[in-house]
Subunit: 242 residues, 2 copies
Amino acid sequence: MKRKADQAVDPGVTVVTARSRAPAGSTERKRLTPDERERLIAKEAVSFFAKHGFEGQTRELAKQIGITQPLLYRYFPNKEALIERVYQEVFVGRWNPLWEEWIEDRSRPLQDRLATFYKDYARTILSYEWVRLFMFSGLKGLDFNARYLGLLRDRVFVRVARELRHAYGQPTLDELPMTETEAETIWGLHAAIYYVGVRRWIYGLPVPDDLDGLITGKIAAFLGGVSAVVGKGELHRGISNN
Amino acid sequence: MKRKADQAVDPGVTVVTARSRAPAGSTERKRLTPDERERLIAKEAVSFFAKHGFEGQTRELAKQIGITQPLLYRYFPNKEALIERVYQEVFVGRWNPLWEEWIEDRSRPLQDRLATFYKDYARTILSYEWVRLFMFSGLKGLDFNARYLGLLRDRVFVRVARELRHAYGQPTLDELPMTETEAETIWGLHAAIYYVGVRRWIYGLPVPDDLDGLITGKIAAFLGGVSAVVGKGELHRGISNN
DNA sequence: ATGTTAATTTATCGTTTGATCACTATTTGG
DNA sequence: CCAAATAGTGATCAAACGATAAATTAACAT
């Protein structure tokens, strides 16, 4: 879940810096170091814009942080820069480079690798902040989402396709580039998982508790479908209608 | 696609009402009947809010329509009422009651019924306006989306589940209520289709041309998966591992 | 303690935005 | 052809909003 020692500062309760003496559970909250303050603002901006969208007002954000609105402008030149920081924080900062390694670790069965990857990836992207910020960003109309998903395609989809080809003894991606059908199949798996987050955090609907179980099931169905189409079934119990 | 004689008025070119004489291809656009004007505003509001979100400004909307901003307030008491009208127009007005009948028409094979329904339903909900307005609405935080999806559940999901039970000789929904697994499976099909619209209209990504083909494929995979789990396969070529 | 540095606040500016009202001008009935 | 009815506009208000600058006050070094 947490990747770096990035949890920084806990707001709300009195912040005890290296320099300040603790003034006993008071509500004072003044004079953090620039570094602490900036991280605190960034952290609160993530939660704030995830809730209210990027048109949320800086005054309200400041109130949530417990500071005055002009202070925001000491740490960020304008609102747009603050939003840019939110993008970095969530979409760049929460990417785990290990994901790519997990998928192509052929010492493990493919189904296990996919399950491991998707469970962990889902824990990251199926959060209130990730789901909503990504959607707000998409609706805003910039090309950010397209760029992110291009990266997802290059780093994840291509690897999954490659491993599927390998597992089922198909031509390599060099010999035959990923087909639209393959891409759509992988999109389908991705959609099924991501949509759980949309239902939960955007539509406000209840979703199954056992997310890991759901993912395991989706992956099994995914591989079952692939194996049925490919006409081989080494991975699962055989279907072989060929 | 079009359900009623609801296309109303074509803006842009001079509107020729029953009463007005055509002033030759001029750019005049004044004095519609209240009925025409209201419908025109509603129609433009749909496209405007779908593009800019509900925080889009009334002045900009007025400019798109080619009227002054105060005129909006002659036909709608405030912005919120205009937005409410947009909801009615798109989410209520575009619902086709026949959908429910198609699903439960047992004179046809289930796969055909599902394909017919989902192709037509997809044509409705996979539009720029529907996809984006639904997402804007969800992010806004009202319970509208939850209510709509509750309706979708009652009118569609329940019927699909009932027909599946019937097709595979399972207990009726009265005997055994829809299980979470069944609901999730249907959600999965729904998600796979709807997400194509999200990719297209929110992320701005290219999607396959052949939507009907994609839907047919998803339904085949859906039924294949169901039949595999249920352990029967009258519908498809048999798998029967039981 | 005391002065210096700078983190934070108070006050405020210029726009934007939803909404209102008085006025204009087009249509229609007699 | 004229006058009542009303669709539509111009002017403007009050609150909201991003941003700036001057005043304040907390922290640290001496």
